[in-house]
Amino acid sequence: MVKVVTDSCSDITPQLAQELGITMVPLYVQFGDETYRDNVDLSTEEFYHKLETSKIRPTTTTATPADFAKLFTKLAEETKEILTITLSEKFSGTYTAALQGKAMVSKDCRIEVIDSQAGAGAQMLLVISAAKMARAGANLEQIADWVRRAISRVHIRMTFDTLEYLRRGGRIGKAQAFLGSLLKVNPVLGIKDGATFPIARCRNRTQAMDFLVNFVRGFSRIEAVAIEDATTPDDLQTLAQRLKDVVPPERTYRSKVSPVVGTHVGPHVLAVSVLEAE
């Protein structure tokens, strides 16, 4: 059976990963000298608590080629086919690290590495579908082919109360057009060609929530939806409630942004991702 691997920026919960047989490779969060494995040594709740109390600003680093090489070598003992789906190469060196890790593996095993050109919930939806295909018996070519075609069908919208975290971490891309507003706004961003992209601006959280709901309503055929928050579970609950009639709950995945993603989006992010049906 094909083994599906992804990095921690896909925000897949440990329970879901275990359930679907997905192997997670953590990125790293650093508070000064302290290094934590994303979602392994540090949960999202712990991270945001630390963010509030620590004077040190966290930074993030990619998973290393050695991390991937070690993992691939271990997995090669149980399978001959590994599919790895990473965070957009424009956000992180993880994709490159995975390719380098693949080159270091001497075992007889075919390894495909795909850049999801996305992150967070959008990456999550690709990985979940891939894992389900693997369990259904599809081979590496079939799954890899499906993922590559599906990349253009995943769409993410994230709303923030500030773009400061994104700017500080250098991941703001074209959304810098939204910086410097003299009016308080809740920007909505998407990911386009692997990078953050400005979409629209709302005057407050309520309007931003409406925007997300209307965004999902705009699709005629939806395969799955992922919704995420960081520190605002009530908002996530409201969003889930409002989407209940648009997408069946069994095809709606709820999660929290990982500490690494959280470092760059800040505590008040609310995101929704849609995988359009073929």
């Binding site: 057009a177 939204f178 410097g180 003299l182 009016l183 979409i199 629209a200 005057r203 309007q207």
Partner: protein, 542 residues
């Protein structure tokens, strides 16, 4: 009996005379705007529109009436300011159509052309309202057609039209309740009557009299409430030439120089002593200024700049700062705060203007042409600029969508709704939708006493206007007027309230008002510096 076949030169001089007459009436016409707010001034807008029309006609050396009428129409269109200006430009368009192909014209031709002008003007307005300039034009045109049946001499036909226009102006308050309440006749109608009356004086050989007299306001047929004192008009046309020089002489009389030059231009500054005087002035005829000054002494450091060029240069500079984009945005704003605010929200070309100064079609067109894209979204941000903005669409090869924003809060809401992921049509739709979700309350002081919506208003009282249309509150204290207006506008339903404080207001006062809004309505409130002139506060409810 045909004695007077008039040519293009006659038509030119008729309207030159009419414009001179209108110019004299402009302050009175400005003063009878229905709302006692420092508004886009109807009289000034009509004069400015006519000046563009005449300028264009002057450049045309052809003496055929058809050609001159076309020039007038083109000039009026390019210079159209405010609603009255746009209707005036449609009047000339209709006139040009009626006189097409003719070298000369008589009363019959003129009557026909007037009828066409009336039709064109009605068609150009989405919701024509009776009791306005449109009605006056229609009545004048009817009278002209009647007159032709007896006599098709031009002067007789025009005389009938003018008489009928005057009567029609007098009837406007009985057709339009808002005029009756305010105790005034319609300003645009009055302007048209004066324009035609001035043209008639030329035909009668009496245009020299214009110099010494002044048009009177038509007295309404119905008995009107006595009006309070008129407000002073202060307005400056931003175009023409900016002249600067130093005058060297002996026993120079600063006071007299200032007095003499005041008649020749605007933005006048005269400083210095009796031997050296520095002069700064804006004028359409800088030659006249220099001729005057050379009589008094020697001139030094003479600079004369064409302000139109400067403006074009300014627009060009703005463009060079901007990379080409898929969709570019053009808007209109006054107030340092609003300009900064709009700029902070993204790349946008701002044409200076608003309530007190409606930009012309040409200024809007220039901005559109200079914008770094072939797809343009144009937001006029003022109800009196909406129709001028609509004219731009037919004058450029660029694709222009006008979002009919009637005030700055609507403009900001539309701008924020702009979605970078959508195309021009989709964005225009989304932005139009967004403007319907915002209400604007504008707070200012009444510049004269009046009655509107059954409210008795004293000069100097604070008044609040909802969505540029309804005067909903008045009070002596600014807080009272704001909270009465918020109550009437249904502030309890608003998700977010933004308080834009003007150039004459203090931030501390704005913060106090904001806190009280939060306490009373439990809603999000943001205080932002708008820096707008005249309006103490503009409050948006979303």
């Amino acid at each position: 009996m045909k004695t007077d076949l008039a040519d293009g030169q006659t038509l030119k001089e008729m309207f030159a005379s009419g414009t001179a007459w209108l110019e004299k009436s402009a302050p009175d016409i400005n003063a009878i705007n229905v709302f006692p707010v420092p508004d886009g001034d109807t009289g000034t807008n009509m004069v400015l529109t006519m000046q563009f029309a005449l300028e264009e006609a002057k450049l045309n050396s052809d003496n055929h009436v058809s050609s001159v009428a076309k020039s007038l129409a083109h000039g009026a269109l390019m210079g159209a300011r405010g609603n009255s200006g746009v209707i005036l430009s449609q009047f000339f368009r209709g006139l040009a159509k009626g006189l097409e192909g003719k070298t000369h014209f008589d009363g019959g031709d003129f009557a026909k052309a007037l009828a066409g002008a009336s039709q064109t003007a009605y068609k150009g307005i989405v919701n024509p309202v009776e009791g306005t300039i449109l009605t006056v034009l229609k009545d004048a045109s009817k009278a002209a057609q009647e007159a032709v049946k007896n006599d098709d001499v031009l002067v007789s036909v025009l005389e009938a039209a003018v008489k009928s226009a005057e009567d029609s102006v007098a009837r406007t308050p009985s057709l339009l309740p808002v005029l009756r309440d305010a105790g005034v006749v319609d300003a645009g109608g009055q302007g048209l009557y004066v324009l035609l009356d001035g043209a008639l004086q030329f035909l009668k050989g009496e245009s020299h009299k214009i110099q010494y007299r002044r048009p009177r306001l038509v007295v309404a047929e119905t008995e009107l409430v006595p009006r309070a004192a008129q407000r002073p008009t202060q307005l400056e046309t931003p175009h023409g030439y900016c002249a600067n020089f130093v005058l060297e002489g002996q026993n120079l009389n600063l006071g007299k120089i200032e007095k003499d030059l005041k008649k020749k231009g605007q933005s006048l500054i005269v400083t210095g002593d009796d031997t050296l005087v520095r002069v700064h002035i804006h004028s359409f005829e800088p030659g006249e200024i220099l001729k005057y000054a050379t009589k008094l002494g020697k001139l030094h450091e003479i600079t004369i700049n064409n302000m139109d060029d400067q403006y074009a240069e300014f627009i060009k500079m703005q463009r060079e700062r901007m990379p080409q984009v898929d969709i570019a945005m053009v808007t209109v704003a006054t107030g340092g705060g609003f300009s900064e605010l709009l700029n902070s929200l993204g790349n946008i070309i701002i044409v200076p203007g608003g309530q007190t100064m409606n930009p012309s079609v040409r200024e809007l067109l220039q901005a559109v042409e200079s914008a770094p894209s072939d797809n343009i979204i144009l937001m006029p941000n003022n109800k009196n600029i909406v129709s001028a903005a609509s004219q731009v669409q037919s004058l450029t090869s660029k694709k222009v969508k006008v979002i009919p924003t009637r005030n700055i809060p609507q403009g900001i809401a539309a701008f924020l709704a702009f979605d970078y992921d959508m195309n021009l049509e989709q964005n225009a739709q989304a932005m139009e939708k967004a403007i319907n979700k915002v209400m604007a309350i504008e707070v200012t002081r009444a510049v004269r006493g009046t009655r509107v919506n059954g409210l008795e208003i004293r000069k100097g009282q604070f008044i609040a206007i909802l969505n540029d249309e309804d005067l909903i509150a008045r009070a002596d204290k600014i807080g009272d007027v704001i909270f009465e207006a918020l109550g009437k506008a249904g502030a309890e339903k608003a998700g977010i309230v933004t308080v834009y404080y003007g150039a004459e207001s203090k931030e501390a006062e704005a913060q106090e008002i904001a806190q009280e809004i939060r306490d009373r309505y439990h809603t999000e409130v943001e205080v932002v510096y708008g820096g707008q002139p005249h309006y103490n506060y503009i409050i948006s409810l979303e």
